[in-house]
Symmetry: D2
Subunit: 388 residues, 4 copies
């Protein structure tokens, strides 16, 4: 149970790159980081327009002198201060992620990086290496992983409640891109431009969330190979807006991921079903407080967040008691709490004894997209997938 | 609206092969055929045990003299009578379907054949040829196709309500075979024995239903190629109990079918979603009275059977008024009504101006299984799929 | 499990009064009675137009000579035959029920009577007396009571799975009468005419179904008193189209029934929740194959028809196996099977050892409406309710 | 769309009474107030144990000198400061609400008061008078009213989308008190003690939320009279744990509220359906992002938060985009944003041009409970209900 008291002795001095005025993602980063007093927002390079960024920061109680025109200045200036930022969240367009994250790590900062982490396995491995070298904490923003029922799922699977896992069936398939929304909307245009969005659209945008959820829940299962059938249904779109990926795991399980932006009429469509030898669980991101638990031969049950019968690890993140709906903000808050704790442990030289979406998770997401694209571009042939 | 008056002038003289005591499938064939006075059950070879078959037939008001020890005798004896059977339903184990159906057609009978029609494309094409040669009507028992909301779906698609179809996403994935139920249950054992069940288990048993539903709803879309990843999760099982098939259609659409018997905790799991350019529809066989209709940018709607707003073709089969639940028996009844009408038209030399699960649908089901097996056995490679 | 073999040695010779051409209710009576060979339809007074009735009967394979112009002739003529009807179903307008049913019983026939049985407690008690005097079987057509999950609910309650019952919360509230549909539709007009429909509209039409479901599931609980708030929302309607009734039971439980025809946008709206000390069950007539079972402190479960975990009494009526949807026709079929068995036992002088919607249930329905009307007309005051 | 920038020029200096360590309700007040920089938490009397309160406040970045031992000291000391608190939230046990709220108002503070506001209409009217006299803003904490779909419902009703309202059908019926949870749990014991909880348990605890939701959505409908049937099902409980209330409104509509703590197996059970002449809406507090909209004769629709098709007033509070789930914290945040805006306008002497749960709403809640208790204690007789 969380009552809002901070989880660490001294709040982390925290800054943001991007996430300025009109940014939805910036808002959720701040809401999540600041709600429980684990972070103090003390600096930012919120906007490519310095004045706008300064005005924005002031609104957030940030000292105008610490509202910087760009991330380079911010990292340099903050490094000179005794009370300079310790950690930074990066919420800029995808094509800047790699460069800024690397600079932040090398500036001695802990990093919370929007996904996708970068575009190539090469860059991803370089970031992983940089994390190792600098000894800093890096989180990749897989924001759905903080939902309590994901923790519940992870513990159920670890506990053998489902038996050996056989099938991982996932989809993140919405309809928001069923027509060329990118025409005339700059905010959308970069997402379908290979130069800015990388080699994939839907797979990177939505599919990678599923890849990480699978890893979070089943950390011991490794993909052996995959094949991908991808399409660009909307005329003129260079990147895929629909993809079906089949994966084979090293334990004999199979997986399926449907990534789509053209699933007309579906508002969100992020769902999964994990099938074990004796039971399955199913979850829908639009109804995150519930987890369906279906034991073969028994009546299916719907487990609810915050109740007495779920596992302690899931219960620990409860903020408002069972029955009351929590939402995406609480999922992010849980992840930012982990970020604070991880930084705190890191700075004290303690071992981090909990899971979180780390740089390796980011590597795996980038690799998954890369392998899917490789298969898709090669007539949907099978592609082998040695562990990065 | 159907009120139970027969749809044809003279009821069809009808017999059964198989479907005797303790047969669930026999019961639904009879319930469907007899409810509206379109058929008279006048003969049968209900059981491999002649005495048991005779006793059973008597219970059904069949003249004991017309309860035959086997289908050969039945076809021969009935042919001698002026009032001999005109049509026969075949509800025997899978491995006998081809032989009996062929014999029935050649004996001048119309045939309602349990699925799968047979095991090889060769046999299937031979049956198709036999139908052509004899000029008789043959229905393949795809029992879900008679639900009113399938007709509604077909008409919506034909009418362009969804726009051009892009994605066909289907599953028939239950958990009833998650352990070796075939051990010690003769009634199940033949289903996983390649000699008796043919080259596939789940794909033939459940997957083919989806293949036909897709054809019924989207008659103009043809599969160009497919790939299939199949598994036998239960130890010792020779045939697949899980399969994922990806299909590419000639109009650029893609399809996905998940066939499974190991989806633990799922009672039935027959569902589909058809995605068009502007809207999608979704249906669940456990809730057949409803069809979800989701137009991009609008609030999703749940259409209900029997209401004023659905298409006339769907409404025509209403037996009890909107709101009251109909079930699988009504779906079968609708198909048997078509069977009666088709026979009636056939015998009068009239053209049949409605769709039904004909021998060609049976051919396509057999072919789909064969192609899936070919791909699955060839490391899940793509297999091209010229129209049979 | 039911496979369609008849349940009694000799089928009951059966006739119908009403239910002729274009009658939905007639169709479901016939479908239910005839499906399992327990009844032979041998006579009928199907229509007030004798010729139309004869043509209709012929379609149903009834000997034209036994298609009578009216029920009086039918009862008289059939009585003269050695093979005359033994039982009759009455599906005529409400205001004729009492007279025809009484005549049938006095003619020595078993009766399956459409609801409402009659309009006054006096008539109802007279019918009950007549049943007692004649020793015949009488069923009142509470067609939802035959659903397997109602039997399951009854057995769960009897078994104490819910603990002592505290609250009975029911509704049958659809929107089909939200405007004056009776204007210009003769088929609807009589339903809101006090002279023809009796003292109530929605309460009699839909509310009484709930009253009987409560009795079927909780036979030991008796209403002590009730109060009713009723409204006629549609202008010009003389009878109530909405009513809320609160009931107190002799065991300390309370009940609530919402009867309505003006619940705009709701197609059917027949649902209930039974709350016990430790658990509740909930059911929705549009999804009759399922029963929600919610134990306090545990995850709620959805029980499904036909599965291994439900009670034997519920399982016994399974016609098609778990997962496949059954519908209203199966519910009626189950009731007609009971009708056949009850007649068979009655004629053999055996005791009837199962529950069914008997004449006393009809009495209680009529009485409930009468008491509700009394309260509603008396400023919604409480009305005491001694057991009839 | 909300991006977290504050909505007013100068954040409100804000303090809390109660809501200290281990308080769930304190946490949600703070989360809601602080997330968007509209409030600064500068003082508090968080705990009856001064040291514990000081430690707690320190954790929240409150100056230890402004962590007071009790509310009297806090109001007195803060009044002396130029930067003293302007507003206070009161999250103490129910029986202290009236006294502290009155003191706060008289100390010149704006008040956000936990519900129930107080126990008697007399106290309630006194608070209303005090608000009028002091000219301060007072919010009563009806936390569900801030959900976007409640605003959507309000606007739909105002816009005539449902037609004239006929039926208001509501329930807040959970199972958490189905046994004597108050035995041995001090935190629960006061809730069923008439001296501390007032004259009602479930009706005050949960029922009043529905009363306010009804007022928020249908501000023009006034209750004319009501009757209430209440029970104490759990042995030894002095206050009711279940109540059914029927209400008649001045426009001819009827209402029904089921308040319960003994609805075994139900986790939350807060739901309503508003029925108009031509359409209904339905909402479930466990799934607050959705609103069912059912037009008679059309397929029912499920409206979702944040989409393009909902009303602007509802859209305005969107924090994360359609599809992503928001929860109870966002509902409270929306209300606290209104609190900030109302205070800002109040202090500037501007008119408040939006609705919020004001002191009069609190009066109506107290009155509703009082009238229900009066009816319940008088054999569930009708009680007239002139507007307070």
């Amino acid at each position: 149970m969380i009552y809002g008291e901070k989880n660490i002795e001294n709040p982390i001095r925290w800054g943001m790159v991007g996430g300025g005025i009109g940014s939805q993602i910036g808002y959720i980063h701040r809401s999540a980081a600041l709600r429980d007093f684990n972070f103090d927002l003390v600096a930012g390079a919120f906007d490519i327009d310095p004045e706008r960024g300064k005005a924005f920061g002031k609104n957030l109680h940030v000292d105008p002198e610490r509202c910087y025109p760009d991330y380079q200045t911010m990292f340099a200036e903050e490094a000179k201060r005794e009370d300079g930022v310790q950690a930074v969240s990066i919420a800029t367009p995808n094509f800047t992620h790699y460069t800024i994250a690397k600079a932040a790590l090398e500036a001695g900062l802990h990093v919370y990086l929007e996904k996708p982490m970068c575009f190539t396995t090469e860059e991803a491995l370089d970031l992983e290496e940089t994390v190792k070298k600098t000894g800093k904490i890096m989180f990749v923003s897989y924001g759905y992983a903080g939902h309590q029922m994901i923790e519940q799922a992870r513990e159920m699977i670890a506990n053998g409640d489902l038996g050996k896992i056989r099938i991982v069936n996932m989809q993140f398939a919405h309809g928001g891109n069923n027509v060329a929304v990118e025409k005339g909307a700059a905010s959308q245009a970069w997402r379908v431009d290979p130069k800015k969005a990388g080699p994939a659209f839907s797979m990177g945008d939505v599919g990678t969330h599923l890849v990480y959820l699978a890893e979070a829940m089943m950390p011991d299962m490794k993909i052996k190979r995959l094949m991908c059938s991808k399409q660009s249904f909307v005329e003129g779109r260079q990147l895929e807006d629909n993809a079906m990926t089949i994966m084979e795991y090293d334990n004999g399980a199979v997986g399926y991921i449907w990534s789509s932006g053209v699933n007309a009429g579906e508002l969100f469509g992020e769902r999964f079903r994990i099938v074990g030898e004796k039971a399955s669980i199913a979850w829908d991101a639009e109804h995150p407080n519930f987890l369906s638990y279906e034991v073969q031969g028994e009546a299916p049950r719907v487990l609810a967040r915050g109740t007495g019968y779920i596992y302690d690890g899931a219960k620990a993140d409860d903020r408002i008691g069972a029955g009351h709906p929590e939402g995406l903000f609480e999922s992010w808050s849980n992840l930012y709490t982990k970020f604070a704790k991880a930084i705190d442990k890191c700075e004290k030289g303690e071992e981090i004894d909990f899971w979180y979406p780390d740089v390796h998770a980011g590597v795996l997401g980038v690799k998954w997209v890369e392998k899917c694209v490789e298969s898709g571009n090669n007539d949907s042939a099978w592609v082998s997938y040695e562990e990065a």
